[in-house]
Symmetry: C2
Subunit: 213 residues, 2 copies
Amino acid sequence: MSTPGTRPRGGEPAREALLTAATTLFLRHGYAATGTDLVAATAAVSKQTLYNQFGDKESLFRAVAGAVTARAQGFAATLPEAFAAAAAPADVEEVLRGIARTYLRTVARPEVLAVRRLVVGEAARFPDVARGYHDAAVVGTLAALGAGLTDLATRGLLPVTDPAQAAEDLAYALLGPVLDRGLFRVEEPLPTPEALDARADRVVRAFLAARHG
Amino acid sequence: MSTPGTRPRGGEPAREALLTAATTLFLRHGYAATGTDLVAATAAVSKQTLYNQFGDKESLFRAVAGAVTARAQGFAATLPEAFAAAAAPADVEEVLRGIARTYLRTVARPEVLAVRRLVVGEAARFPDVARGYHDAAVVGTLAALGAGLTDLATRGLLPVTDPAQAAEDLAYALLGPVLDRGLFRVEEPLPTPEALDARADRVVRAFLAARHG
């Protein structure tokens, strides 16, 4: 609807631009040292639009974290159906590969890593935001993954004695090194989608090999 | 030498107090918003002592990160001897348990997690510090762990086809969930030393079970 460059953005594009600008500026200058004037100018929206969309700087920070937790919750919500697609033991590897690939691609994104850095760095100021992020993006996803593995075990498709532990093992083998590297090495590109898929496939193979002995 | 409370601290105690105060204040207020006056006052040392010890605020930040990477390098340096202590296949589990327990206790400490939060949060400002931290505390430790597993494999004590991958698997299964939780949930206590040891033992058992089929 709006024509970029000819008038200030409003609505959803303005919201997205403000979230992106806020993430970048909070990371570069710190939350405390970043004024909403600069966020609005960087997003090419008026300060009034910022306040209409988000209320104040703290709400803007919370919205930045909330956008990523919403994405994580979106992924977790797809898991029951994804696990249900396995109808026979022979389907399990392909189903887990698909889940692992999607999980890794959902997390290993520059904008997700940026928000993770921001939430971790500001955890002393906003402990409730950091806790909420961990609840939604880590605990919630692991719970959904554990429920899916329980589903496979219940239907006799995969031997899983401790689904919560198995979900944790799978998730950290998959994401741990990629997240760590991405959090610290801000100037290096993330793995390509193809490299992420290859990682997902390898981790799933090892996960299944450990379960089948 | 100095008597606490009667005169400003100098030397090593002053250095430690400054590093602790800087970590806390940088996390609470952000690097940019934290003045060296406040750091010196919080550490109960003179500003002159701060400048004598660290030069300037940026050098102080680098020293905060450096203290943790030095600790990680200290742990990695103990690994060749620790792995060498396994003389027979029956020794491997106990040796790995000892290594895993020490590794976990080295990392799962409030002051290490605080510095990790700080380095991650300021990675956009100081990408070289974050990269150096990852090199020393993650890449370097994984390399030493991989070399130790290669040593075990070479001496016929443990079947390891890909030592680098095995080191990564072991490290992330051990540390991943504890670090994640500690980074985000700043107000919750870390696991007790006993709980950390139990985790280390469990992860080593699973690691060995996966290798022996």
